[in-house]
């Protein structure tokens, strides 16, 4: 219903990042995430069901759907915080939640830091490495140097070197988000679960952070599952999308799933997918709040 009013340049600029989905880790990689007929139920209400999805190393998957359909619940199920109501969910070859520590990086829905918080970005990244250990870190020793190198590596990976030493409360929203991605990456996880990481960023930052996540996914061979409000900033980096609906779901490549026919069948009401000249997608007629339009930064 709402036309896209975002700047097209922001999306076309990221086009060269469109890497082939070839995984870099192994020739025939084991599935990192596997869902078979999975369903989620919260408070007696079935949010979504029938999700069949296989994610391998180095693949970038987006979880899409209208507001309130349970996109964040999908992340909770993969984290093992919430048990699946039906079907089978396997994460890194085991039950969800079994290896939640080092092998899964998690970026929850956007949280901003109080401007007066006087803790450096480096320290926030560092907490992702050893924040769950008891005691205080020793100010000497070989372990300290190794930890500092790991933190510096993660900060370099997201290009946050220029402001990582500043108190995080004084960093901009985009800078904070990059530091939080570094925090999620600092243990070199095999899976990265991101819950609306582009929300509340401006358009240039949205496409820059999307390109960063796409690069980490394809170059480092990290499997990325990202809950998204708007598919357009990440469309060119995606290998697969999962569209959730009340009581159902469709998974596949963006070209297969984000079409008028598929979404009309999924939502059992007429849905139209329009493609603009620059390749952006507009979904019209989706029940509840449309989730693949330009986002609340554009026109709501």
């Amino acid at each position: 219903m709402n036309p896209i009013t975002g700047t097209p340049a922001a999306v076309t600029a990221t086009r060269p990042e469109t890497a082939p989905p070839a995984p870099t880790r192994a020739e025939t990689p084991q599935p990192v995430l596997e869902l078979r007929g999975a369903a989620a139920r919260v408070g007696g209400r079935t949010l979504w069901s029938g999700v069949d999805l296989t994610v391998r190393a180095g693949e970038f998957v987006a979880v899409l759907g209208p507001n309130g359909v349970g996109k964040s619940t999908m992340v909770k199920v993969l984290l093992g915080v919430l048990p699946a109501a039906a079907g089978e969910v396997r994460v890194l070859g085991g039950q969800p939640g079994q290896s939640a520590g080092a092998r899964i990086g998690y970026l929850p829905q956007r949280r901003s830091f109080d401007p007066s918080l006087r803790i450096r970005g480096l320290d926030v990244v560092r907490l992702g490495l050893d924040g769950d250990r008891w005691g205080v870190p020793l100010p000497f020793g070989a372990a300290r140097r190794r930890d500092r190198e790991r933190v510096a590596e993660a900060v370099d990976l997201v290009g946050a070197g220029a402001y990582a030493h500043r108190p995080i409360g004084q960093c901009s929203g985009g800078e904070q988000q990059r530091l939080l991605i570094a925090q999620a990456l600092v243990r070199r996880p095999e899976v990265l679960l991101l819950d609306e990481p582009l929300d509340s960023l401006d358009l240039p930052n949205q496409s820059a952070v999307a390109a960063l996540i796409g690069r980490i996914c394809h170059q480092q061979g990290v499997a990325v599952v990202m809950v998204a409000h708007d598919v357009n900033p990440i469309l060119h980096h995606l290998d697969r999308v999962v569209y959730l609906a009340e009581g159902g779901a469709v998974a596949g490549t963006p070209a297969e799933v984000i079409t008028s026919e598929t979404l009309t069948r999924l939502y059992r009401s007429p849905v139209e997918v329009l493609r603009t000249a620059d390749g952006r997608l507009v979904v019209v007629g989706q029940p509840e709040a449309p989730s693949t339009h330009g986002g609340h930064h554009a026109a709501v």
Partner: protein, 286 residues
């Protein structure tokens, strides 16, 4: 004057005050850092009401004053943790409840002074404003042991507590027991309030909890350095206060300690002008 100072210096009561005060201040400084970081200073204010009432209730009931102090403060800390984030009580409820608690304290005080015919008529003042120069050897030993235990627990939980404070949802996903830590920390704050009441009194304990931590946070943006600095500043300020009070007998120790703490906190606004001041930092937006 010099004679007085020398004489105070040599007295056992002064040794007790230095010994107990050092560890009490260390515990208060360490706990205070997280109290400031978690924006729970108001909890410290609440506990100062409870500390007075708890101590008075214990006296009226014929028990050791410190028993009421610790039981009251730890219970109140746990209660506040329970109210805390889940069901946030509104300001009017909290304000009325604390005024009522303080009123209850004055009731117990009257009960105590009338029933025990003024055997320890100054008990109210002692609890409100502290009596660090009045600690016996036995009281000093208990105070030191409790303070060492509080400090040790703070150091043990420091890193996960920092994680839970700065980044609660990620910490929870990583398996940090966020809720248990929150409860445990406020129980520690309660125990620490009971300790600090013995040193500076319930009315002034907020100064020992908040001022050194506030100064440390202004001086460094590295969390563990700030934690150490907060503990160190609290101890140094307590020493300075005790020394001033020994040299100038008309200065009560509680006042001298608070004056030192406030002076240090105020001084942090004078140095480091190159960093953006807290109030004027531009909000972090897009």
């Amino acid at each position: 004057m010099t004679e007085l100072a020398v004489s105070a210096w040599g007295q056992p009561f002064f040794h007790n005050a230095v010994l107990a005060g050092t560890f009490i201040a260390l515990a208060a400084g360490l706990v205070g850092y997280f109290l400031v970081l978690r924006a729970q200073i108001f909890t410290g204010d609440a506990l100062s009401h409870v500390a007075f009432t708890g101590a008075m209730a214990a006296l009226a009931g014929g028990y050791d004053l410190r028993l009421g102090l610790f039981v009251g403060c730890v219970a109140a800390g746990l209660l506040l943790a329970g109210i805390g984030r889940s069901g946030r009580a509104d300001d009017v409820v909290i304000g009325s409840a604390f005024a009522w608690i303080l009123g209850l304290g004055s009731f117990f005080l009257t009960l105590y002074t009338t029933s025990r015919s003024g055997a320890m008529g100054g008990a109210g003042t002692t609890v409100l404003f502290g009596s660090i120069f009045g600690l016996s050897t036995g009281q000093t030993l208990v105070a030191v042991l409790v303070a060492v235990a509080i400090s040790a627990v703070v150091l043990l939980i420091a890193r996960p507590l920092l994680f839970a404070t700065v980044d609660e949802s990620v910490a929870a996903a990583r398996g940090v027991p966020v809720r248990v830590l929150g409860f445990g920390f406020l129980a520690l704050v309660g125990a620490c309030a009971g300790e600090a009441t013995q040193a500076v009194g319930s009315l002034l304990l907020l100064g020992l909890l908040a001022a050194p931590a506030g100064a440390a946070i202004r001086l460094t943006d590295r969390p563990f350095r700030a934690l150490a600095l907060s503990g160190g500043l609290a101890v140094a300020e307590l020493w300075a206060g005790l020394a001033a009070s020994a040299l100038i007998p008309s200065l009560p120790p509680s006042f001298a300690i608070m004056a030192a703490a406030t002076a240090v906190y105020g001084a942090t606004f004078l140095i480091r002008p190159q960093r953006a001041p807290l109030g004027t930092a531009s909000p972090a937006a897009g």
